[in-house]
Symmetry: C2
Subunit: 387 residues, 2 copies
Amino acid sequence: MRGLHTPNLPEKIVDAIAKVVGDPPVALHEPHFSCKESDYLEECLTSTFVSSVGSYVDRFEAELANYTGAKYAIALVNGTSALHISLKLADVGLGDEVLIPALTFIATANAVSYCGAIPILIDADPKTLGVDPAALREYLNENSVIRDKHCINKLTGNHIKAIIPMHTFGHPVKMDELISVASDYHLTIIEDAAESLGSYYCGKHTGTFGLLGTLSFNGNKTITTGGGGAILTNNKNLAKRAKHLTTTAKLPHRWEYIHDEVGYNYRMPNINAALGCAQLEQVDKFIKNKRNLYSKYQSAFANLNGVSIFSEPEDCMSNYWLQTLILTNEDKILRDEILSLTNNKGYMTRPVWSLLHKLEPYKNCQHMELSVAESLSSRLINLPSNV
Amino acid sequence: MRGLHTPNLPEKIVDAIAKVVGDPPVALHEPHFSCKESDYLEECLTSTFVSSVGSYVDRFEAELANYTGAKYAIALVNGTSALHISLKLADVGLGDEVLIPALTFIATANAVSYCGAIPILIDADPKTLGVDPAALREYLNENSVIRDKHCINKLTGNHIKAIIPMHTFGHPVKMDELISVASDYHLTIIEDAAESLGSYYCGKHTGTFGLLGTLSFNGNKTITTGGGGAILTNNKNLAKRAKHLTTTAKLPHRWEYIHDEVGYNYRMPNINAALGCAQLEQVDKFIKNKRNLYSKYQSAFANLNGVSIFSEPEDCMSNYWLQTLILTNEDKILRDEILSLTNNKGYMTRPVWSLLHKLEPYKNCQHMELSVAESLSSRLINLPSNV
């Protein structure tokens, strides 16, 4: 039986979207540029500093630190590289294990793989869409043992070293509870805040709770540098090591080329940082618009049974990067029909990512019961979030 | 005894440089921008396509293929990522061994490390500054054995899978001889052409001889995209795999997120490709100016005993990316004094990279007798090459 709650639900969803965002085509998310982007790019060309050294990189890093409240920000080529280096800085290496959400973009897992480490997948919390700290505690209680302040996986004997909470669509994970679990099990927290620039948990910016946090400035994010990312940390040594590791581990010298470890070429070019500086000046406006859009969707869908618009978790201020529609269990069979109809009508929508254990490279990962993540993945649809 | 050939050699070198490049300060290399760079960046902003999808990426790839004569070019975030993915495409993995020059930038070795593979270091040819195919053949003859068309390292028992010739400062390696050795020992050739855009060996562009070739468009290269690189190949399947692996291995689908292997976030953003398109339009002019600069240095240093200006190898046309001064054995003790004086006077010069086996992460690498590389590294100085 189709559309139990509401007859013609897909068509009514299209109507509600149209009411909010107007005539099609409407993208899922598009970047917006003011005149400053042009000016800064032009300045960049004039200075000839377009590459890995330049004043916009320094400025972007300083402004990111200021905006997020992190002591240090290190600008990189993308969010994936930021996760990769953060894991290295947390000493995650061959055969280590890292707890990550089952419900996340594949980059979270890939960064773990780059280190030769192995992901363990955690279920989601329906109130945040992120990892569920209570379920995690229960899982670790049953499946791990603490030896010499190391969390050891009973099944594999490997060291479970870190946890990467990801703030889904800009909605913060329950960080207080997560910090408590991480503390009890001696896990390093690395926050994947790729989607949550401008999102706060209890008044504190996401990405600043863990030892390290990461951001993304891909073209589909709240602000963009073309491609880009950043590491956030309050630890001076880690910040210094992050810069060193991402600039080929070259030691400072007037002319000699001495590198003291295997490094990476991950620094953000100055021309991308120039774009970032102009974008960051507008971030408050972007987020205000995203939050207004949420209110409009909330109103437009208020009387539509069978669906709800996801709201920011308690004690949080979300950036509402992507607006999220949730179908009821009864109506979830309509998911693909809704995706098809909305996209055919020119309103770009998408489902959530395939759960990691459904993907070929991670199908054999150890994981807890993933019933909430499974349920969410069958019921979530991101709506046009362009503002 | 100092300056055997010429009294006051460091001072005379400064005079000769000044004669060629004029008043200081003069950089080692600076990018040059015309009005087109501005126009294309502006177009990029107007289109809102600044990120990993966009028409400038497609155009840059097509124009790179056209310029180099490769069938396919894949634009990436930098030259290091291009080497990393090329090695993956050549099936280089954990415990494999890869022959690389001892005299190269550390990125060549790092890319091998990223794959879990191990570099073996090769000596240099004084006529090309790149790997010496004759010395390589002799080394492989003594130190390897062929089993089932696999080159096996007698010492380690590991599979020596590939060789990465690097075209130093834009001067091509003796590719005919190298191809013959690679063929006899069943080695895959991946060319590190990071420095040699616009350099030809026997009329064929560097980077198009091996199964795969790589380019760099860092700010210090002949043309720049801020940060960037590319893979060149004539193999359609490899080109397709390169795009797939560098875009998170996502399968094409209207909305689903299905990734079939551990992929990377290595694609060049459109805004960087926009810069690249404008730069590529000027590459012939840049190289003409670089070659003219070589002639001027050649004249200015002609009467200075104790030094020579390095000239393109036989049958080659080099881009002369960086101009290279070579000291005699007698005068090499003056190297640091020359570096110091020239830099103090505002003429940016630099020595060649530290040889890889002198660097902490590669000090235990297996290597042949490296007497030529050792000698060259003590005698080479790059001169201001800004044009």
